[in-house]
């Protein structure tokens, strides 16, 4: 490891395989975050106290939260910057396109999902900004947890208020469909990008990507609708 100099890290970052590798690693990190986030969301199906107890517990971790937040921002930025750069490179590499471009069929993984990564990605990036602004930096209401001594932030109310508006419900549900598309290609592609793929694994992982994409997107998709309907 001592042989890895600064110039080598830079060389890796600039090389085509290095760029994919970093996009893949950050993608896997973000997928891990989605799983944790979705698990946290399950509290909304239990009730307000469960949600507020969970967010209060998270915030009691103090500086650790800040470190994770900064880490997540860095991961999102690297993933987005490299993804946009890869999409731009594509135009440079083929200045004149084809009159016709038709897939050669299986085993090709080209799909509407794979071809729209840049667009679903850009929408997701803008969505993350909106989402953090709406909730993390949203209004602050105090509430008391059962048996609590100090008031905690009523995160449940913040979320319920937003999803009282059917427009927000529709926007969130629409973006979650795009998330599903992004994951359909992204899950499999991330492992291919870091070299964790072989001929034997490929079909299984591609099928797993579909399952992962549907489960994650559906999990986030139903919550706004559920909260809108029960309130």
């Amino acid at each position: 490891m001592s042989q890895v100099s600064e110039s080598k890290i830079l060389k890796f970052y600039r090389s085509q395989t290095g760029r994919k590798f970093i996009t893949g690693v950050t993608g896997i990190g973000l997928m891990g975050f989605l799983v944790v986030h979705l698990a946290g969301n399950l509290g909304f199906f239990i009730g307000g106290d469960a949600v507020n107890a969970y967010t209060a517990k998270l915030h009691s971790l103090g500086p650790l939260v800040l470190i994770v937040e900064i880490g997540l921002i860095a991961i999102v930025l690297f993933h987005a910057i490299l993804g946009i750069s890869i999409a731009q490179e594509k135009k440079r590499a083929r200045p004149e396109g084809y009159a016709l471009h038709v897939s050669g069929g299986a085993p090709s993984r080209m799909s509407p999902a794979s071809k729209s990564m840049i667009w679903t990605g850009i929408v997701l990036l803008l969505f993350i900004v909106l989402h953090v602004w709406q909730f993390r930096f949203g209004p602050h209401y105090d509430t008391m947890l059962p048996g609590g001594v100090e008031p905690v932030r009523d995160m449940y109310k913040v979320v319920v208020d937003v999803f009282a508006d059917p427009v927000w419900v529709a926007i969130y549900m629409g973006v979650m469909v795009l998330l599903g598309f992004h994951l359909r290609h992204g899950f499999w592609s991330a492992f291919q990008s870091i070299g964790a793929m072989s001929s034997r694994l490929s079909n299984t992982m591609y099928a797993a990507a579909l399952v992962f994409a549907v489960l994650i997107a559906l999990g986030f998709f139903v919550l706004p609708l559920y909260l809108h309907m029960v309130h």
Binding site: I86, R92, L100, G105, P107, Q192
Partner: protein, 253 residues
């Protein structure tokens, strides 16, 4: 199967030189035999054009047996046409019906500039190969075949990668015009074999860097390359190339 001659409507990319503006020209052939290969069909067109005093359509070809990698055109939007694991020369007109329209375009990539009509300059591949796709060995009389034992599974896998004929269909079909499958095939073949070990790390770094220098795009894992590859080379090779690159950077080349 019909043995009757067919009428085929062609739309062919014509471009008189590297910097000339190209355009599609329409030709109708009414004596296309189903047994003809795709290139023989183009021969028929060129004979007619020559007789009429027109400039024939330039296209690359050599062995016409699917093993040299010279030929290759985009046929109705797919590199090497509709039949998988088949180079353009081995595609036969029996796959088409009387009255079909066929659009023929050259490989399109910045790194593969058009020389004329359907001929592109693929020396970018040669330069990637020269960057590290070789083994340095003392030449002399051939060693005994069993002097370096190689397991059957390893030999088979290396051979699958060695089957690459460098035709460039992977680049042509890639939405990003990436040369990853070609480069990965060369790297993987040599990384698997004992003869390729001395230069293993230096090779992967040099060849990957050369792809970028030549102006090929980044890979987005669409896998379209594997679908059009006349040798069916797996994108598992691209995953292997990335592992090799990561290891080379980590452990020093």
């Amino acid at each position: 199967m019909s043995h009757d001659n067919m009428t085929i409507h062609l739309r062919v990319w014509r471009q008189s030189g590297p910097n000339a503006k190209g355009n599609f020209e329409q030709y109708t052939l009414d004596t296309v035999n189903p047994h003809m290969s795709f290139l023989e069909m183009l021969d028929v067109l060129n004979e007619r054009l020559t007789k009429e005093g027109q400039v024939p359509v330039e296209f690359d070809h050599d062995c016409r047996e699917g093993i040299c990698g010279s030929c290759g055109v985009v046929i109705n939007g797919t590199a090497h046409g509709p039949q998988q694991r088949t180079a353009s020369c081995q595609l036969h007109m029996r796959h088409y019906k009387d009255g079909d329209a066929i659009t023929i375009e050259p490989w399109r990539a910045k790194a593969f500039p058009i020389v004329r009509d359907l001929v592109v300059d693929r020396t970018a591949f040669d330069r990637i190969q020269e960057a590290g796709g070789y083994v340095s060995v003392k030449t002399g009389s051939a060693p005994d075949a069993h002097a370096v034992p190689i397991g059957k599974e390893v030999a088979d896998e290396a051979f699958d990668y060695a089957a690459c004929i460098g035709c460039g269909a992977c680049v042509a079909a890639c939405p990003n015009a990436s040369a990853s499958l070609f480069t990965a095939a060369k790297i993987s073949q040599l990384a698997l074999l004992p003869q390729g070990q001395p230069e293993r790390k230096r090779r992967v770094v040099a060849m990957v860097d050369q792809m970028k220098v030549e102006g090929f795009g980044d890979c987005s894992n669409h896998g379209e390359c594997e679908a059009v590859c006349p040798k069916g080379i797996s994108i598992a090779g691209i995953a292997k190339m990335r592992r090799e690159y990561f290891k080379a950077i980590l452990t020093g080349k």
